[in-house]
Symmetry: C2
Amino acid sequence: MTEISRRGFVGGAIGAAGLFVGGATGFGIAKTTEPATTPAATDQVVAFYGPHQAGIATPAQDRLAFAAFDLTTRDVEAVKQMLGTWAAAAALMSEGRPIGPIETAPQAPPVDTGEALGLPPAYLTVTVGFGPSMFDDRYGLASRRPAALADIPALPGDELEPERSNGDIGVQACSNDPQVAFHVIRNFARLARGTAVMRWSQLGFGRTSSTSTTQSTPRNLMGFKDGTNNIKIQDTAQFEDFVWVGEETDQPWMKGGSYLVTRRIRMTIENWDTDFLADQENVFGRFKVSGAPLTGTSEFDHVDLAARTHSGKPVIPLNAHIRLAAPSTNGGQMILRRGYSFTDGIDPVTGLLDAGLFFIAYQKDPRKQFVPIQAKLGQRDNLNEYIRHTSSALFAVPPGISHAGDWFGKELFT
Amino acid sequence: MTEISRRGFVGGAIGAAGLFVGGATGFGIAKTTEPATTPAATDQVVAFYGPHQAGIATPAQDRLAFAAFDLTTRDVEAVKQMLGTWAAAAALMSEGRPIGPIETAPQAPPVDTGEALGLPPAYLTVTVGFGPSMFDDRYGLASRRPAALADIPALPGDELEPERSNGDIGVQACSNDPQVAFHVIRNFARLARGTAVMRWSQLGFGRTSSTSTTQSTPRNLMGFKDGTNNIKIQDTAQFEDFVWVGEETDQPWMKGGSYLVTRRIRMTIENWDTDFLADQENVFGRFKVSGAPLTGTSEFDHVDLAARTHSGKPVIPLNAHIRLAAPSTNGGQMILRRGYSFTDGIDPVTGLLDAGLFFIAYQKDPRKQFVPIQAKLGQRDNLNEYIRHTSSALFAVPPGISHAGDWFGKELFT
C-alpha cells in the first residue's frame, strides 16, 4: 500500500477516490484527483460532522440498510485507513454527493457506483460502531475494550443464527430513500475490499419508532403503535442520562458515543393474526387502534400499572409488554429505540412469512439497560409466544467526527 | 362453506370480513358486519375499478411487494370466492382503508392486520394475474387458456430457481410506501387461507423505470438510467399496440387485459463495479452520468444505431443492450417495463450481495414481445457477463373490475 493511498482519505472525495482506485484495486489514480462535481444538496441533509455521530439523535428516517463487517486484515493501519475512507465517503453521501468521480478515465472503473446519482440524501445518516471482536488480539486494542461492551449473555428465548449475528464493525445507514441507504452499504463494501468483508446485512422497510416529538408513532407488523414512550431528541436530559456515554466510562475514547444493540426479532405473524383482539391488546397492554394504554383512552395517556379492575385484577396484565418494559419496572432505565420492520420473503422450511422487527437500541450501558430489560421480557413477556430473536449484535459507537480527514473512532486508535 | 361466506365478498368490507372470519377460520361473523370505519383517503388514491387493472398504466410507484400463490383447493367456487374477497379488499386498501374492522369482538381476531392504519395509500395499486398452471385439469379452465399464455421457453442464460419461479396466481402491489404494499400481500395471504398458499415473494425497494412523462428516469443498481425509451402512459396508442389485449385474442375474457412477465435478474455487482467506465458505457450503449446514448449528449437524444466512428466501427456496439433491445432491432416490438431494484442480503455461498433487478414487463403477447427480445438479449447482450436470471414467471392479467362485488378474472369463470 502506497503512502498516497494510506493518507488517501485526508481530503474527502479526492482521497476516497484515490484510496479505492489506487489502493484497493491498483488501477492507478491518474484520473481520480478531480473532486466530485455533483453539488451538495441544500436540503434533506443531516450534518455528518459533530460531537455525536448522526443517526442516533436524528428523527428516525423511514428506511434502513444495516450491515455488519468482519475485518480480514491484521494490519491496524489498514483498519484506520478504511475507517477514514468510510468517513470521507459518508460525509459526501450525507450531502447527496457521490463518493468520488463517476466519469473517471475510460479505462478506470467509476469510483461511485452511481445508483444514488440525482437522488436527494433524504436525511441520510451513517453510523458506525465496533463489535467486541474488534478488541481481540489482532489490533492491540484489548486494553481499550470498554467494560460496557460486555458480550450479551444468552437470554431466554434466544434462537440466534450465528451467521447473521455479531461482527467486527456495524454500519447503520438510514434515509427516507432506501436506494440512498443501500448505496452506502454497497459502497462501504467496495471501499473495504482487502480490509473487511460483509458478514450479514438487513434491510428495514418501515420504521417502528418515533424519536422526535415532531413524528407520529408508527405501527409495527403486529399492527400496534410502537415506541410511544420512546426517548425523544427534544429531551436532551434523557439523552445524557440514558444514551450518551459520559464521564462514567472506563474508556475515555467512548465519551460522547453510545452502545448499539441490534436484534432481529422474527414475528410468527400468521399465528398472531389469528389471536383475538382482546388477547393482542393484553399482550401489549395497549388498545390496538388508538394505541392508548389499557388504563387510558389516548395514545399518550398515563400508563397506570397500579390500576385494577372491579374484581381486583390488574388492568394492564402482569406480563404485558408495556409493564415489563416500563422504566418503573426496570429501575428507571430507558433505551432509545430506533428499529425497523422487515420481511425477507418466505421461510423455505415452513412456508410462512419471514418478517418482523429489526430492533435497534442505543444506550449508555447495555449491562444496565438492554440486557436486564430483555432478560425480564424474555422470561415473562406475553409477546414471547409470537416472536423469536434470530440475530443479535452489539457495537460500541464512538463519538462523532469533528473534522474532515478524521476517521470513525480515531480516539480509539490514538 | 356456508352460503353467507360463499357470497361474502359481495359488498366489500363487510363481505371481506365475513368471509375471512366466518369462512376461513370459523370464529363466527357476529361482530364483523360493521363497515370499516376508517374514512377513505382523499388523495394519493389510484382508482381500483375501471376497464383495466390499476398498476399497469399507472405512473410507476417507488416500492414493490410481489407474491406468487399456488392454489391448494380443487373447488373452483373457492377460487372465485377468494378472488372476490381479494378484489373487495384491494378496493378498500386502494382508498387507504383497512380490509375490515380491527375492533372486532374481543374474542375474535381483528380482520385487518393493522400495520397500514393511518398511512395514506401512497398511490397503492394491486394487480392480479393467472399463471399457466391455473389452466391445468383442476378447474375446468384448460379450454380457456390463451395461446399467448404459452410457457416461456428456456432462454439463453437462464439459471432459474424453480422454488421462486412460476405460480398459479401473481399479485403485484405497488405504492410509494413499502409498508402499504407489504400490507396487501400479507392480508391476501390471510384471506387465501384454505384456498391458496404463497409460493414466493419479492420486495423491490427502488423503481427502475418511468412509465409517465411526468417522471424522471430512475437508475438501476448498475448506476445507469433505465427505461428512458419506455412506453409512457401518455401514449395511449402504444398501449393499444403493445400492452392491452385487443380483438386479436383467442380468449375474449382477456380483452382489456395484459400479459405480465417477471424475471428476477441478479446482478454480479461486485464484478460490475470493477469494470471500466468505457466498458460499462459500451455494455449499455449509453453514457453513465447523463444517460445519453453514445450517439448523443442528452438522455432523450436519438439512439442512432447506424452511426459509425471515423474508423468505421459502430458507435453503439453491435452487442450493446440498447441496440439489441431497441424496437427497430425487434420488428418494431416494445414492452412496458415496470421493474424494481432489490437486494436480499448476502449470498450465503459466495458472500456477495444478492441484489439486482426484479424485471416486470407488461405486453399484449409475450410470444411476440418478451420472448424473442430476451432470446436475442440472452445470446448476445454484453450485459450477460454481469447478470443471471434466477426467477421467471408469466401471468395472464385479466381486465379491470367494473363493479363492486365482481372478482378478478370474472369473465374467465363465466
